[in-house]
């Protein structure tokens, strides 16, 4: 059996602050197989984004962060790599899409220049003309009808939805094996968000890219993910295939998250309990969803 694209085992994280250690992740385990779309869902402060930063190797450079546990990327231990090696992975083998596309593109460079930078990560000697040609093809892939005009534009000249598509094109430009999407599209309006997610889903399916999709909204995840991990206060509380989880949410916290979403069928404003002790109930794993190497 080939190694999963991403394998996280018992990952712990704490930050050293003025008042001692603050524990953020209490030993989380998750895996993503090749080409699989996996979602990590939880409220703000639950540890979703720090997990993404550890995978990218960004948090490891912070002096106050204490990290233990293993993160294997395509069978290689990230911890055993040097900083330079981890740096080489970013933007090539793994890439990321952020929440707000307009603020994550550089406002003083044209899209064409920024795309060139991205392509240089993989092929350092690539010329501008060659890069533009590649970029235009990739922009066409994300349903941008006038790639030349977009390449000649600055990010602020494009709409939010357009910038989001540019980001997706850039993130997939070097054919990464893992794409991390941190709340993509929440800064966009609903119709644009729906289009963007559909497009992203088509592309990652075609390229067989594994995706870690981070969100607080189970509704957004429902149509995108194959498998879902629900995270609460630095612990995974439920793990299952998307259909299992939505048909039969078993953890009290997952049920609360699901109830928190207003229904378009109209059932009034959601009634939810504040931090209940029930939310700390142990991990629920659905049938057939054990971590590799563990007895499911």
């Amino acid at each position: 059996m080939t190694a999963p694209t991403l394998l996280i085992r018992d990952l712990r994280l704490s930050f050293k602050g003025y008042s001692g250690l603050v524990e953020v992740l209490h030993g989380i385990s998750l895996h993503i197989d090749k080409g699989e779309r996996v979602a990590l869902v939880g409220e703000s402060g639950s540890g979703k984004s720090v997990t993404a930063r550890i995978i990218l190797g960004l948090l490891q450079t912070m002096r106050t962060a204490r990290i233990s546990g293993t993160v294997n990327f395509e069978g290689r231990d990230l911890e055993a790599m040097s900083r330079a090696e981890r740096h080489r992975l970013r933007g090539t083998k793994m890439s990321m899409i952020f929440q707000d596309p307009t603020s994550s593109l550089n406002p003083v460079y044209r899209i064409s220049e920024q795309f060139h930078e991205v392509l240089k990560r993989m092929v350092p000697g690539i010329g501008r003309a060659e890069a533009d040609r590649k970029a235009a093809a990739m922009l066409a892939d994300v349903s941008i009808t006038e790639p030349e005009r977009v390449l000649a534009s600055y990010p602020f000249q494009l709409s939010g939805g357009m910038n989001q598509r540019v980001m997706i094109a850039m993130a997939l430009a070097n054919e990464p094996s893992l794409l991390i999407a941190d709340e993509p599209g929440t800064a966009l309006d609903v119709t644009v968000q729906a289009q963007t997610l559909k497009l992203m889903r088509e592309l990652v399916t075609r390229h067989n890219t594994a995706v870690l999709f981070i969100s607080h909204n189970l509704g957004v995840v429902r149509e995108f993910a194959d498998r879902i991990y629900v995270i609460y206060k630095g612990r995974i509380v439920e793990h299952g295939k998307a259909t299992q989880l939505f048909d039969n949410p078993r953890h009290p916290y997952t049920r609360a998250l699901m109830n928190a979403i207003p229904r378009i069928t109209g059932e009034g404003i959601p009634k939810i309990q504040d931090n209940s002790d029930e939310y700390l109930a142990p991990l629920v794993v659905h049938e057939g969803c054990g971590e590799p190497g563990e007895v499911a």
Partner: protein
């Protein structure tokens, strides 16, 4: 009964360089006291321009806006500001980071001369308690609060001057779903206890379904549909409205069914 707010053939044209952009095009509607009117549409549909005109930030190019039967003057007066208040999308940028929560709220009371000077600090504490925060948050700065707590402060500030109409501009879209649910509950409670009128601007139809009484749908500056929330969701007349409902991310099969039935109608209409 006179509506609390009435828009009569309101248009707004902005001049950008050489050409003119008609952001709002001949829009008329009334808002009754105590109702929650949702204003929905995609970005660029003119919803924020409508809100800014109601707030008196700029006057309409054509048409009139009346509050309790009196046409609002083009310059923004204190009484107008006092009656109609705003809660913005991002509480981090709408609260002054250098002022304590208490000072921000106190300012609203001072400007509008509400209550006796010596009792205002106490009043600030009461306001905070009304939105579910402890009174001693008065001395904290916005940076020490969570997003949901900050939004509560912004709501308290909008209520400080005893306003009657609150324009809520995407008040929960920057919050996560659990915090959103709590904030919506608070807004509903305040509406009941204070008899407030809400103009709720959003693109999230799932929120609209559960808080609004009526829905106004905007597309390219035009009002395309205005009806009760039940009618809009069970039988939307406009294809654009159906598209908006179809784009809402859902979690249950019942919702999926409603969405699909609307999309099918759409396909039949196109065929």
């Amino acid at each position: 009964m006179t509506p609390i707010l009435s828009l009569q053939s309101v248009s707004k044209t902005f001049t950008v360089g050489a050409h003119e952009v008609r952001a709002v095009d001949d829009v008329s509607f009334d808002v009754a006291k105590g109702e929650c009117l949702a204003v929905v549409g995609e970005s660029g549909s003119g919803k924020s321009t409508i809100a800014n005109m109601i707030l008196g930030i700029y006057p309409p190019s054509e048409g009139t806006i009346s509050y309790r039967g009196t046409v609002l003057p083009s310059s923004r007066e204190l009484s107008h500001r006092r009656a109609i208040q705003l809660v913005q999308q991002n509480p981090l940028s709408s609260l002054n980071p250098k002022r304590t929560i208490g000072a921000s709220l106190r300012l609203a009371l001072d400007v509008h001369g509400i209550g006796e000077r010596s009792r205002r600090w106490e009043r600030v504490g009461k306001l905070l308690e009304e939105v579910g925060l402890p009174a001693d948050y008065r001395s904290r700065s916005p940076a020490t609060l969570s997003g949901g707590q900050r939004q509560r402060v912004a709501i308290a500030r909008a209520l400080a001057c005893e306003s009657e109409i609150v324009v809520l501009d995407e008040p929960t879209s920057a919050l996560d779903v659990l915090v959103q649910a709590r904030t919506l509950k608070l807004l509903n409670e305040l509406k009941e206890s204070r008899g407030l009128t809400y103009i709720f601007i959003t693109h999230d139809l799932s929120v609209v379904r559960n808080i609004a009484d009526r829905v106004a749908v905007f597309e390219n500056g035009k009002l395309v549909e205005l009806d009760t929330v039940e009618t809009i969701f069970s039988n939307p007349a406009d294809p654009y409205t159906r598209g908006l409902i179809g784009a809402v991310p859902v979690v249950t099969r019942e919702e999926e069914a409603l969405r699909t039935s609307l999309t099918e109608k759409e396909n039949n209409a196109n065929a």
